[in-house]
Amino acid sequence: MTDLVVETHGLTKRYGQRTAVDGLDLTVPRGVVAGFIGANGAGKTTTLRMLLGLVRPTSGTATVLGHDLSEPSSYLPKVGALIEAPSFYPGLSGERNLRVQTTLGAIPDRRIGEVLDVVGLTGRGADPYKSYSLGMKQRLGIASALLGSPELLVLDEPTNGLDPTGIREMRELLRQVADTGLTVLVSSHQLVELEQVCDWLVMVDSGRRVFQGTTAQLLAAGSDRLVLATEDPRDLDRLVTVVRDQGALAERQGRKVHVPLGGVEDVTGFLAGINRAAMGEAITLVEIAVAAGTLEDRYASLVGAA
């Protein structure tokens, strides 16, 4: 059995003149929670649909759980998926909707109660699906994906449309599911959510990969920034010029000046140099702080560079 649960080479999907996925090479190691990151329209959903046999690639190759993409019936029984909004029959109860799935996939019916318990819907299974809140619908979608005791769980934008409470619940559910050891591939454009649960990241932009690796690798790749504030806010624009004269990038954001620290090896020396230059221009600094880079910062810099 391979250590890579998902592996694609040059995966491409074109719709007429539009290229949705453009020669994508990605890997997902076994046992990770992999975040699939990209803006809306970056090609995430199309890629996931190709992996699930719903959309045929225009070119390229891929394997899922060691099986070729052209043989979805050999690997899909071991894959659970929630693609975009959960899709169920509104007139059927949650339980009956899941029974449609267990019958189709020859999955023991006892799994219905088990997965409802995992997602916190015990006691609500008999209610009509149409009476569920959006958060409950999403949770039923996860329950459906877990029915077949999958080795790989594919979730496409599972927090879409949820309120902050629902997002927090979904994040906890995801963490709970990941703790069982199965591999999770979750796509989202809400980077803050992914940052907290993912240990492997694949970033895409315009159908192309811009980063792949561990979350730690990405954040260690110099996305920290220096935040400066002056005693007199009228000095902020002059401070930007002073910093730029030191050969660094600087940008005013409200009452602060932000200076990316990417590529700066001697941060202390760099800070001292800026402080001296500011003093030389009679600018009094009241705040000099190093802010840790976020996934969002790193994504923005990678997409900007792509």
């Binding site: 649909r49 699930l52 046999g53 719903l54 959309v55 045929r56 979805p72 019936s73 899909l76 894959v79 998926a81 693609i83 975009e84 909004a85 899709s87 169920f88 029959y89 509104p90 007139g91 059927l92 009956r96 029974r99 449609v100 799935q101 019958t103 189709l104 996939g105 020859a106 459906s144 077949g148």
Partner: protein, 263 residues
Amino acid sequence: MNAFRSELVKLGRRTTLLAAGAVLPFLALLATTLVVLNATTTPTIGAGDGFEPSLAMLGTTGGLTAGFRASTGFLGILVFTLFLTSFSSEFSQGTLRTLLVREPRRVRLLVGKLSAVLLLVAASLLLAEVLSIGLSAVLASSRDVPLSSWWTADGLQQAGGDYLNALLASAFFGATGAAVAMLTRSTVVGLAIGLAWLMPLEHIVQNAWPDAEKWFPGLLFDVVARGGSTLVSYQYGLTAGVVGAAALLVAGATSFVRRDVSG
């Protein structure tokens, strides 16, 4: 087999059974009431069947299912709509992608779904015929129609034949509805095209060109349901019906198997 059983789980819902399964029996009872109560003592031209048979005809072996046969005129639209909505709603609700992740062998999914919906129609038709026969017996007795030839082997054979014809026509209309759904992937568009074609268009053309009954699918399937017509033999209708329904189904199935599921 799993796809078939899975579809039955969906169809087994009480409201679905009532909505889809009770319409045909209701129409059969209505048609039976009209047929028996409208039966005339004096035979007129064209009064051998339909909604105004003669009382003498009702007393023959064919009288047993005269009401049921008359109700099959509504069969096409109902079965077409049932199959079309059953398939197109999978696209519009997005449930198809969930099903295909669970069963990626699309032909199996298609066959299972078609078989399950057809089973529902078959059961509904059977109930319709049994109820129609029961009501016919009660109403015919009140009109002094002799029933002795009804309960003979010939009478029951006629009833079996009428059921089989209705079922065959249902399969043809069902295949057409499913094919239109798979090609259009839309309930609204599918219904607009299908109903416009089957209801006004075919009949308008038929009024101007009677031979349309030999060529147009809806008219041909109706011929099978009626066991033949004055213009088209049953054998011709059956053969052409099989060919037409198969062609439509192959076109729909090809689209279903090959096209991306993006919605």
